[in-house]
Amino acid sequence: MSEFLKQIVGWLADEVEGEETASALCAYLLVPGLVLLTAAFIVGDQGLGAGLEKPLAVARIQSAITPGGDPQTGSGLVMILEPTDFRFRLPLESTDRAGAWTSLEPEVLKADPGAVQVDSTGITANAPFLGENRPVAIVTEGSPAGKIQLPGRTDVLEAWRLTSRRSSNLMFTVLAASAFGFGISLARFRSPVSVKKKHGDGEVGGQKDKN
């Protein structure tokens, strides 16, 4: 990693030959890149390593419907857990019926007893689950306490609410388009510098002197 960084710094030092190139580097690469990274960093609570999507999505169950009956108040949680390294505990207010339904096969739960644990005060899960490489659904009864316990910290449950796929799709679409634009920006910055090195004149960032 340090060698890679040294190469990048060396490349930048070679490329920056005076204020004109420095300003172009700033405008074409540094500032837009830093802005995008800052946005990703602000919203990625687990840093860039975990990406912009959280490994857990939670939806509250608030009603129950029976065949032929009126809707009634219900209380529970649905959790969708991605197959990634993630451990959490969801405290639940005391309930007489402690239990959960999962999309895991019984054999998986038998082989890995600590994968999902339920008691009257909450539910704990340790992902990834043995032999499972798809998202796992867990449903449990009980009123959530409004928080989620993670290794080293506690977070509000609302921040882990299930979001729509439209939301993710639009965000990644704009990110992809930004990356595309960034690529054009890099090419426009890079190619005139090489022209300048070869011929010692001409353009910066694609500009020609009209005068």
Partner: protein, 470 residues
């Protein structure tokens, strides 16, 4: 499908800008001195006004809460503002746009101060666009807050790249594409709203202002006989002031006026494009009017129609993105250009392309910093509301100085600006609950903004006449 269309629109416009810029690259010595070959300035003007209507909700809110008389004032004010700019351009014949701006700002300290004030206002306006776009994405389109932050930032960076690659050429060309997107969105929404229109028409009282909004001073009755004149006057000053203080509007009018070919017809087209959003708003207002209660604003309410069918949702996302890009780019580029032209003479010894790169990257950085800093407060419309004051201040200084900042006594622009900004800041923080979400009562800051305009305008007139006498 929605994501694919958004990607196609954004990547397509980036490629359009890239190839357009390759064909007409920026000049090293004067990268923004482009007056020729800029197409359809009316498209950009319409998109900007539409942004005020749909994104900011300012014009829409005034139409709904105060009534059509105030909206008519806004429309007439827009015409007055454009006419003022045209008069100033015609009073300076044979000047390129850069020469025109320099003649307005002058070469002295007043001009540098006014230039910085105008630039700063435009950058803050761009930041407010980001905040409001994010808010609409969260409340109306259902994006998660963190996704909306990345969405808005990404669009902002894409808009910045348009300007960086192609300057005015890129902005004017993408304005046309964005105008078509906005019109498509309006057509889809109007088609969707058509069924609700009959309900709206059946509800009476659409000509009256609601109690508690723009009430005539000295009277407690919401619809005093003087109310229409008062509302029209406030709308007129607001509409005119916004355009007088907007250097992107100066650019569009200059492009039309400097071109001798059918200049009057083209100016009329520009004016019509500027008031078009008001006429297109009418069915939406009639349909939505009863559904916006006083107090806390639920942004989702008036925009709920956007999610009623997948085609409207697609059109809405593209239209909102297009409207945002048009206004954001115009504000950022015009702020950069005025900032460059108002720099001190000793700073102009640098190659302009260098200054352009530093200025534009600084503009993006500062705009986004303000955006990130203001993500916390519950009211994402605060900054836009606050900008009423700076816009009124700039418009008053320009109008009061007769379009020549140098005609005012040296240093007076600085003191008038400080007076105006401090006064406005004190009023705004006392009047608006900063810890609360957006409310309908925020439009009641408009009369104070108009008062600020009147005071600074009067002071400028007095100072100017004193300077001329001396």
């Amino acid at each position: 499908m929605l994501a694919l269309l958004v990607a196609a629109f954004l990547i397509g416009s980036l490629l359009l800008v890239h190839f357009s810029a390759a064909d007409r690259p920026l000049s090293r010595s004067k990268p923004l001195d482009v007056d020729e070959g800029l197409p359809y300035p009316a498209a950009g003007q319409s998109s900007t006004v539409f942004s005020l209507t749909a994104l900011f909700g300012a014009y829409y809110g005034i139409f709904v809460l105060v009534g059509p008389v105030a909206a008519a004032g806004l429309a007439v004010g827009s015409v007055v503002g454009l006419a003022w700019i045209r008069k100033e351009v015609r009073d300076r014949p044979h000047l390129r746009f850069e020469g025109f701006v320099r003649s307005i700002l002058g070469e002295g300290e007043n001009g540098r101060t006014a230039g910085k004030l105008i630039s700063g206002t435009q950058f803050l306006y761009a930041a407010s666009e980001l905040l409001i776009l994010r808010e609409i994405c969260v409340t109306a389109l259902g994006l998660a807050p963190h996704h909306a932050t990345v969405f808005a930032t990404g669009l902002g960076v894409i808009g910045y790249l348009y300007i960086l690659f192609g300057g005015y050429d890129a902005v004017f060309r993408t304005d046309v594409l964005q105008f078509l997107m906005v019109m498509a969105m309006i057509a889809l929404v109007a088609f969707q709203v058509g069924g609700v229109l009959e309900t709206g028409l059946a509800i009476g009282g659409i000509t009256e202002a609601r109690a508690g909004y723009w009430e005539v001073p000295g009277t407690s009755r919401p619809n005093a006989s003087s109310a229409p004149v008062y509302h029209f006057g406030l709308g007129l000053v607001m509409g005119a002031g916004f355009l007088i203080a907007s250097p992107d509007a100066w650019k569009r009018v200059h492009v039309l006026t400097a071109d001798s070919d059918r200049r009057r017809v083209r100016f009329i087209v520009l004016v019509l494009a500027g008031v078009l959003p008001f006429f297109l708003l009418t069915p939406l207002v009639l349909a939505a009017r009863p559904a916006i209660p006083d107090g806390l604003v639920n942004v989702q309410q008036p925009l709920a129609v956007l999610l009623q069918s997948k085609y409207v949702t697609v059109g809405a996302v593209l239209g909102l993105a297009a409207s945002f890009l048009s206004s954001f780019d115009s504000a950022l580029l015009s702020g950069v250009h005025v900032g460059l032209l108002s720099s001190a003479p000793e700073e102009r010894s640098k190659s302009d392309i260098v200054a352009y790169h530093w200025m534009i990257s600084g503009a993006l950085a500062s705009t986004c910093l303000v955006f990130f800093a203001l993500l916390g407060p519950p009211n994402q419309f605060l900054l836009a509301n606050f900008l009423l004051g700076p816009f009124a201040l700039v418009a008053a200084l320009l109008a009061g100085s007769g379009g020549r900042a140098d005609d005012l006594p040296a240093g007076s622009v600085l003191w008038l600006s400080l007076l105006g900004l401090v006064t406005w800041f004190i009023y705004f923080t006392a009047r608006v609950d900063l810890g609360r979400g957006p409310t309908t009562y925020q439009i009641n800051t408009v009369p104070a903004g108009v008062t600020l305009f009147a005071v600074i305008y009067s002071l400028s007139l007095v100072l100017r006449s004193g300077a001329v006498d001396n």
